[in-house]
């Protein structure tokens, strides 16, 4: 009996180890598969043009050089100006930071109202707002261009910020509303009885427990807005373009030879901020902050 169960146990653990190993092997292979393009980008960006011409795509750089990065940042030609992508990078910052913060904050306030201060017709209003998540952005390009023109924000950074805030609201409101419905109504009721009003409850009770959803929302919005190409290319021009549009123009500027190393460096620079947001904000992605407020 003892022997039997022992051999059974062995059998089981051998199968388990085999299974585990198989899973790890598959995971490692897929990870490498997806990392290779990134590695090629990094290697290429660190090579000189000679190196690129003589070597092959996946070979290591013979000599590490940051010239391509420097050139991509402040001297490569985009269209007729040759000042690199730095100006456009800052444009993207100036667009993304306020657009993310404002749309997230308004989303939080909207979510608070739609979950905790329901009024006659609030459900209908919320459903209509949700439609915003499903509207393809191409549809609204023309009317939006006309509207921006009317209010005098055409081709400006402020105009782009406004567009991103408006089209982010559907998502941010949805995020916060769905988060706040899970917070017990009794918490709000307790605060009401403690004498707190609409804003005091929002700032003192709801916002402090909202960190997880803030992080989700900020990651989502930053990625959306920083990576946006369509609005950037349509609603801005020249000086005010975001980095995504500039990157496209840099790669497509056809004077002289194609500088792959500069293209790659510029592409990595353009992708860095979203990467940074994932790495930094991910740490604060705390769960269970509301644990213990309510029994059960």
């Amino acid at each position: 009996m003892g022997n039997y169960s022992l051999s059974q146990g062995n059998h089981k653990s051998v199968a388990m180890i085999f299974f585990r190993t198989a899973i790890y092997v598959i995971l490692i292979i897929t990870a490498i598969y997806f990392l290779i393009p990134l590695l090629i980008m990094i290697f290429t960006s660190l090579k000189s043009m000679d190196d690129i011409r003589t070597g092959n795509l996946i070979s290591l750089p013979r000599e590490i050089s940051f010239d391509a990065w420097k050139s991509a940042w402040d001297s490569s030609c985009i269209g007729v100006t040759c000042e690199g992508i730095k100006g456009y990078f800052w444009n993207s910052m100036k667009i993304t930071v306020p657009a993310v913060l404002i749309s997230t904050f308004i989303g939080a306030a909207n979510g608070y109202v739609f979950s905790k201060w329901k009024f006659r017709g609030s459900e209908v209003l919320f459903s209509i707002l949700l439609l915003g998540c499903f509207i393809p952005f191409q549809i609204i390009l023309l009317p939006m261009a006309k509207m921006l023109g009317t209010i005098g924000l055409a081709q400006t950074i402020q105009g782009l910020i406004l567009v991103h805030i408006i089209y982010g609201l559907a998502f941010t409101t949805l995020f916060f509303r769905n988060f706040y419905v899970t917070i017990p109504q009794d918490l709000v009721n307790a605060a009401k009885i403690d004498g707190a009003g609409f804003f005091r409850i929002f700032f003192k009770i709801m916002l402090p427990v909202s960190i997880p959803i803030f992080v989700v929302c900020i990651i989502w919005q930053t990625t959306q807005i920083w990576n946006d190409f369509l609005f950037g290319v349509v609603f801005s021009s020249g000086e005010t373009q975001p980095v995504t549009v500039a990157l496209n123009n840099l790669v497509n500027t056809s004077t002289g030879v194609k500088k792959y190393n500069v293209d790659m460096a510029a592409a990595i620079i353009a992708a860095l901020p979203t990467l940074a947001v994932y790495i930094i904000a991910g740490k604060y992605f705390l769960r269970g902050l509301t644990a213990g407020s309510v029994k059960g």
Binding site: N189, A191, K192, P208, V209, A291, G292, S293, V294, K295
Partner: protein, 371 residues
């Protein structure tokens, strides 16, 4: 401190009527317990008193002030929630002081108040902890502390003990009673536990399906229940309901008790209700509490309200102070509360004394009391 007057209050959620014409009136300093089975509308009524739900019709007065359409914060109430609802992001000290800060009370006074409440509830050592780091009983105290820190006209408690274990519940029950005696503030307390209701209340309001079944003092409700629902709800083990058909015997109307072993006894109806003749040939329900059926003894011999019937015992359940003995009367299971020394073994027969002085009659159709 203030009285509370609830007049013809109704509450609808959509088309569903959750509270049907509730009227309750208590004097200041009284302890009112709202009791009833789950879903009968206790929390809803409490929320109406607090102003957290809007009233469909009727009025609520606190003291002389009509608060029917006044915001919760202006009603001068404090509430302990069924779920405690402690603010998760604040420590215990902050949880208690939040309401005082909101009301712009000066800092030193707030500190003094928090210290006082913490001492009263013995939670001084917990003041810097977050709610997540507290046990159920400790959270319960903090929730209570948050209410006590203020000095409201009325305290509202929504099943504050329902999630505690049995021992802690008994302790906290006693503490709440002491607290009420100390602070003397009017309290409305919701529970579905009839023992809590009986032990704490000055007045009990028993509700069922949104209807106020009976409102009165605990003894009054225990001794003179208005319906079978109230009689069965209050008291443990609950009242025996024995139905039987009224017969004419020895020239008077009588209620028969049949032990199913050839033994019978007959109780004169005139001792059970005011107008016996209206009940001729009808089936009625006799309500008699287990403690009114005991071992028949020689001292009962001369007592005209005690009737003797010898019944075969089916099951016994010793509880310690008493033994519950189950017998069949009129073919219905009947519980008797017997002194442990007097109880016999299952299968044996036992002489039981039925004390009619507190037995009552119910109409089986309406389930209301027949006076």
């Amino acid at each position: 401190m203030a009285s509370l007057t609830i007049e013809n209050v109704k509450k609808q959620f959509g088309t569903v009527e959750v509270l049907k014409d509730i009227s309750i009136d208590i004097a200041h300093g009284e302890f009112l317990v709202l009791v009833g089975p789950s879903g009968c509308g206790k929390s809803t009524l409490l929320n109406l008193i607090a102003g957290l739900e809007t009233i469909s019709s009727g009025t609520i007065k606190i003291g002389d002030r009509d608060v029917t359409s006044i915001a919760p914060k202006d009603r001068d109430i404090a509430m302990v929630f069924q779920s405690y609802a402690l603010y998760p992001n604040m420590n215990v000290r902050k949880n208690i002081s939040f309401g005082l800060e909101t009301r712009k009370i000066p800092k030193p006074q707030i500190e003094q108040q928090v210290t006082k409440v913490a001492a009263m509830l013995q939670i001084e050592s917990l003041l810097d902890r977050k709610p997540a780091q507290l046990s159920g009983g400790q959270r319960q105290r903090v929730a209570m502390g948050r209410a006590l820190a203020r000095d409201p006209s009325i305290f509202l408690f929504d099943e504050p003990l329902s999630n505690l274990d049995a021992k802690l519940r008994v302790e906290m029950r006693a503490e709440i009673k002491m607290l009420h005696q100390k602070v003397g503030t009017t309290i409305v307390y919701v529970t579905h536990d009839q023992i809590e209701a009986m032990t704490l209340a000055d007045r009990i309001a028993i509700m069922k399906d949104g209807v106020l079944e009976q409102f009165g003092m605990p003894r009054e409700i225990y001794n003179n229940p208005a319906s079978m629902f109230v009689a069965g709800f209050i008291g443990s083990p609950s009242m025996n309901f024995i139905s039987g058909e009224i017969i004419e015997h020895d020239g008077e109307l009588q209620f028969p008790l049949d032990a199913q072993n050839g033994e019978r006894c007959h109780m004169p109806l005139k001792d059970l209700c005011v107008n016996p003749h209206t009940l001729a040939k009808r089936t009625v329900v006799l309500g008699i509490r287990p403690e009114q059926i005991s071992a028949f003894s020689s001292t009962d011999q001369g007592n005209s309200s005690v009737y003797k019937l010898t019944c075969p015992v089916q099951i016994t359940e010793p509880t310690g102070p008493d033994t519950l003995v189950f017998v069949q009367i009129n073919n219905q299971k009947t519980t008797c509360r017997i002194h442990p020394d007097k109880a016999v073994l299952p299968g044996e027969s036992m002489a039981l004394g039925f004390d009619l002085s507190k037995a009552i009659l119910f109409d089986p159709k309406t389930e209301k009391r027949i006076h």
